[in-house]
Point group: C2
Chain length 120, copies 2
């Protein structure tokens, strides 16, 4: 057994998670540990530290694991984070080559057409 690694339940004790939750955290891709030849999870000092700080983070900011999972998606999926960013950024999103006033008029007419169609 490695000198510098804890098994899952030892890791649970020092970090304040349960072993059940350690596997859960891993299943969301937040912290993956290395494995022994037999497939046992082995937690080194870095993982332990990250587990502790993760715990603090969640507690201090009222954040859940699934929200951290989404944060992970945001930094892994480039196009997702761009789309989200763009949505928050744009009060009115429009093609760059259309002047704002024209675009607004176009949108108004479009929604009027759509509304007329929907109500007919």
């Amino acid at each position: 057994m490695d000198v510098d690694a804890l098994t899952i339940q030892e890791a649970a004790q020092t970090t304040g998670w349960s072993s059940r939750m350690l596997r859960y955290v891993e299943s969301m891709g937040l912290i993956e540990s290395r494995r022994s030849p037999a497939g046992y999870r082995l937690y080194g000092p870095e993982e332990l530290q990250r587990l502790r700080t993760l715990r603090e983070l969640l507690a201090q900011h009222e954040v859940g694991l699934s929200e951290m999972g989404f944060a992970l998606r945001l930094r892994r999926e480039e196009d997702l984070s761009r789309a989200v960013e763009a949505w928050f950024e744009a009060e009115v999103s429009r093609p760059d080559d259309v002047p704002a006033a024209d675009w607004l008029r176009f949108e108004q007419e479009k929604h009027e057409r759509l509304l007329a169609a929907a109500l007919s």
Copy 2:
């Protein structure tokens, strides 16, 4: 009644949401509309457009409203976004003034002490 604004159920028709969900979206702080003197929600072209793009975003990326709500928190709460950023960034998080090697040793010893205490 304003020329250029739709009531909640008209807005629902053109955007593909239900009026119930429009109120729900508002309750998460994602899209707030202005109100008529009597308190009726009035949706202008900008809100309608953002509602449509929000819908697309959610559908195309398999994202839920609560996750967009979290994204909103991330861009409103400075310290939260810094904490999340820092957690993902740091393989090992440590004070800036402590050299990496020493810190690592310190952490090891600390977790050994904690473990010993926990198991005694």
